[in-house]
């Protein structure tokens, strides 16, 4: 297991943080950050001022009014217990700052929650522990584990989850939304800089929560369409074990099933086809095409002994061509 995790870490597609010109915030690459970053900066300066102010006051008082010794029995000088002017100042000033911050925060929030009408739509699927993104092709659709978007066009992500809570988080776009099983949520952005930015899962979802990473590729003007066409053609033309192999990583099979014989969260696919497996209820069952198909469509129907029934269903997510491909791929793993 350790070896496998190290292998995961060493994967070249580990997203990289682009260098940022802000000390605090990651590089900003979407119009959605326009109402956020300057509020952040304002708050940092106010906070610095207040923190330093409190520190200086404390330091000043403990040096200036430090008692000599207890034996000296010094009595505190008489000073007012109230100072109306002072108290009004330190109540009203923070009040104004808070009102302003509330209004700015509200504006930023409404901005983040209101996608423009002309936004193009993409679907993000969350499952333990993989993000997949659906694209529309000329004929049918295509799924990829990387988010590809065009520059300067608003994109609305429709988010869903098949198992537990997750959250789609793109730091460089300053946006985040929970993926809630049983309902749709959404977020939007409009990328302003071509490049490659990390995507994290921000809502704790179990074992490999911290490996539920992806990245968003922002294509320069005109290149998104070219990429989409190529990717669709490639996805369409691929059949058999080759298709299965691609789906194995794209659909998140690899997060639970290895192909080297080590059991992970689910049984390894190596040598799986034709094997006699003991089911959780104690009956043996020979792994054939129908068993594999059923395991993808209704994963909890027959669970292999020693494994938790934690696999989500792929009903509606895999086409017949996809299922064929995966079965063919598993057959090659002897």
């Amino acid at each position: 297991m350790t070896l496998h995790l190290l292998a995961l870490l060493a994967e070249p597609q580990l997203p990289k943080l682009a260098p940022s010109d802000s000390f605090w915030l990651p590089v900003d690459a979407s119009v959605t950050s326009r109402n956020i970053d300057w509020v952040w900066d304002f708050m940092i300066w106010v906070s610095l001022l207040v923190t330093i102010g409190v520190f200086v006051a404390i330091f000043h008082f403990i040096t200036k009014y430090k008692a000599k010794s207890r034996a000296a029995n010094e009595i505190a000088e008489k000073s007012a217990e109230h100072n109306t002017a002072l108290e009004i100042t330190w109540s009203v000033l923070p009040l104004f700052v808070c009102i302003a911050l509330f209004v700015w925060g509200f504006k930023g929030f409404v901005d983040l929650r209101t996608p423009p009408k002309e936004a193009m739509e993409l679907h993000a699927n969350a499952q333990k522990w993989k993000w997949t993104f659906d694209y529309k092709c000329a004929t049918g659709g295509m799924t990829d584990d990387t988010l590809h978007v065009p520059i300067d066009r608003p994109v609305r992500m429709l988010i869903s989850s098949v198992d537990v809570l997750h959250a789609l988080y793109i730091p460089s776009f300053r946006t985040k939304m929970d993926a809630v099983p049983g309902r749709y949520t959404d977020l939007w952005f409009q990328a302003t800089k071509a490049g490659d930015y990390p995507i994290f899962c921000a809502e704790y979802c179990g074992t490999s929560h911290s490996d539920m990473l992806s990245h968003v590729v922002v294509h320069p003007a005109g290149q998104y369409e070219t990429w989409l066409k190529g990717a669709c053609e490639k996805a369409d033309s691929m059949v058999g074990p080759e298709r299965g192999k691609k789906l194995y990583s794209q659909q998140g099979c690899e997060t639970c099933h290895t192909i080297d014989g080590t059991p992970k969260i689910g049984p390894s696919w190596k040598g799986l086809f034709g094997k006699m497996e003991m089911m959780a209820d104690g009956t043996p069952y020979k792994v054939d095409e129908n068993y594999l198909r059923e395991s993808m469509m209704d994963p909890t129907a027959k669970v292999v002994q020693g494994f938790a029934p934690s696999m989500p269903t792929y009903k509606g997510k895999l086409s017949d061509k996809d299922i064929d491909g995966l079965i063919e791929f598993i057959k090659t793993l002897k």
Binding site: N35, F61, Y65, R70, I75, A76, L101, F109, S172
Partner: protein, 556 residues
């Protein structure tokens, strides 16, 4: 439940000597295990809470050690998830919630009121044993297949994970009742057992803080109990409440959970306000600035705390309107909190400041809590929170408030009342060094986490991008520094217990009632309720320091 006066009168010791106190009054295991004395129950709470704190601290150090490098450092994914869950659950339910009220409050509240005990001594003991049972349930989960849901128990993960969630949730459920009993007891005690002359506005602020806390404990805790029960029912019987695959709604769980857990944040921090309000005037030899404001604002914060739970859910898919209202009310809490800090700082103006260990902790609290409070404002600003939610920024923020605020104040209070509770003085120099190391350690641990979070590092991550490693390592070094500070403090207080110098009645020159009785107090605290004629911070000038006894006596 027998009324306290009758139990007390019936058993007033006649033949005990002048040096009889609650620690020597009775001997043997049973005299502690079945005691109804609030001070002994407080001491048992103190020992138990500190043990839980040590355990939670070990889990924290294991978590921080694992985060020394990305990928595996010392443990696997699943073990790490269990470690941070146990760290959170232990620190919240077993340490911080009972910490100041049940441990320090139990010892001090009746003394503050010149009373012989709390209103319901048997209920008090019951609440302690519920704590023990709750603690055993949690440990039961720990030694079998420890819970891995995070202390928040979010559904549907918590209703589907293979780990032992039920004992941990049962533990939290039972600890909730322990908390409700303490709260109920304190409310009645404060209403009914004040001495003649002590009006509400002559109560020490620690009493005000405990009162506000107790109201939240009684009103909010039942909600978490019901929520955890529903989660257990869903796990055991497959009844669909929260899991959408059974027809439930996972966001409903979050509403229920935060309806308790946000007020619970004030259960944790308001008592700390009380402790700091006691320490600062005594060590400044000056009346507290803005007493009435601090008293009332504790109540106001307790009330408003019930109306802001949705600010934990800005990214959950809740409506924009709901989010807006929750954000607006959240800002309302920021202002009284800011004013409190200004009041505490102003109290020192023209005072005569003694920098003994309790005061050092109070000053550390002021500065650290300022940072914790200000970063809370970042999170209240909705647009900015979307970026910061569920990142290390949030982790840093609540550790600045809970660890830097509540625990620092707890340690300050522990040093402040240690001579009173145990009749021994600790070594002042070691105490101060401990306070300094704790202060440095907690800033070193948690400040880098603000930067990690704002740069986009999500929380509860076992693995992380290599770019984040430097800040993670700083934080880990800080955590071990903090550990050394706590260890030193523990050794110092342990040695004081064994061979500390005997403490005088009033080592710091306080004018609240606990300082008018002996250290440690006699079994029944006061022979007759001491009459109160002035406010709790009036009359420092009537005390003089007597070098022979190392404490303050009335001016003659």
């Amino acid at each position: 439940m027998a009324s306290p006066t009758t139990t007390a009168d019936a058993a007033i010791p006649e033949k005990k000597g002048a040096d009889d106190n609650y620690l020597t009054h009775d001997k043997g295991f049973a005299s502690w295990a079945f005691t109804l004395d609030h001070k002994r129950i407080g001491v048992m709470y103190l020992a138990s809470v500190l043990s839980a704190f040590a355990l939670g601290g070990v889990f924290a150090l294991l978590v921080r050690t694992e985060l020394w490098s990305p990928g595996r450092t010392i443990m696997e994914h699943d073990t790490y998830n269990q470690m941070f869950t146990l760290h959170g659950a232990i620190m919240v339910f077993l340490v911080i919630i009972p910490g100041i009220p049940a441990a320090l409050g139990n010892i001090i509240l009746p003394l503050h009121l010149g009373a012989k005990d709390v209103a319901f001594p048997k209920l008090n003991l019951a609440s302690y044993y519920l704590w023990i049972i709750g603690c055993l349930c949690m440990l039961g989960s720990l030694v079998t297949n420890a819970v891995d849901t995070g202390w928040t128990f979010y559904a549907p993960y918590s209703t589907t994970t293979q780990t032992n969630v039920i004992p941990a949730a049962m533990g939290a459920f039972i600890l909730g009742f322990s908390s409700i009993f303490t709260g109920l007891n304190f409310i009645v005690t404060i209403h009914k057992l004040r001495p003649p002359g002590m009006t509400f506005f002559r109560m020490p602020l620690f009493v005000w803080a405990l009162y506000s806390t107790a109201l939240i404990q009684v009103l909010a805790t039942p909600v978490i109990g019901i929520t955890l029960l529903m989660m257990i029912v869903e796990r055991v019987f497959g009844l669909g409440i929260f899991d959408p695959s059974l027809g439930g709604d996972p966001v409903l769980f979050q509403h229920f959970f935060w309806f308790y857990s946000h007020p619970a944040v004030y259960i944790m921090i308001v008592p700390a306000f009380g402790v700091v309000s006691e320490i600062i005037p005594v060590f400044s030899r000056k009346r507290l600035f803005g007493y009435q404001f601090i008293a009332i604002s504790s109540l106001a914060i307790a009330f408003l705390g019930f109306l802001v739970w949705g600010h934990h859910m800005f990214t959950s898919g809740q409506s924009v309107l709901a989010g807006t209202i929750f954000s607006a009310i959240t800002f309302l809490i920021a202002i009284p909190t800011a004013i409190k800090i200004f009041n505490w700082v102003s109290t020192m103006y023209k005072g005569r400041i003694h920098l003994d260990t309790p005061m050092l902790y109070a000053l550390a609290f002021l500065w650290v809590f300022t940072i914790g409070g200000l970063t809370g404002v970042f999170l209240a600003v909705m647009g900015v929170d979307i970026h910061l939610h569920d990142t290390y920024f949030v982790v840093a923020h609540f550790h600045y408030v809970m660890m830097g605020g509540a625990i620092t104040a707890f340690l300050g209070g522990l040093h402040y009342w240690f001579p009173k509770a145990f009749g021994k003085m600790y070594d002042e120099k070691t105490g101060r060094i401990g306070a300094l190391i704790v202060f440095v350690g907690l800033n070193l641990t948690f400040f880098p986490q603000f930067i990690l979070g704002s740069r986009g590092m999500p929380r509860r991550y076992y693995n992380y991008l290599p770019e984040f490693q430097g800040l993670h390592q700083l934080s880990t070094i800080g955590a071990f520094t903090l550990g050394i500070g706590f260890l030193l403090t523990a050794i110092s207080l342990g040695r004081a217990l064994k061979n500390g110098k005997p403490a005088p009645k009033n080592p710091w020159g306080g004018v609240t009632l606990e300082w008018t009785t002996t250290s440690p107090p006699p079994y029944y605290n006061f022979h007759t309720p001491p009459p109160v004629t002035a406010g709790p911070y009036d009359g420092y000038e009537n005390l003089v320091y007597d070098e022979k006894i190392g404490g303050y006596v009335a001016k003659t």
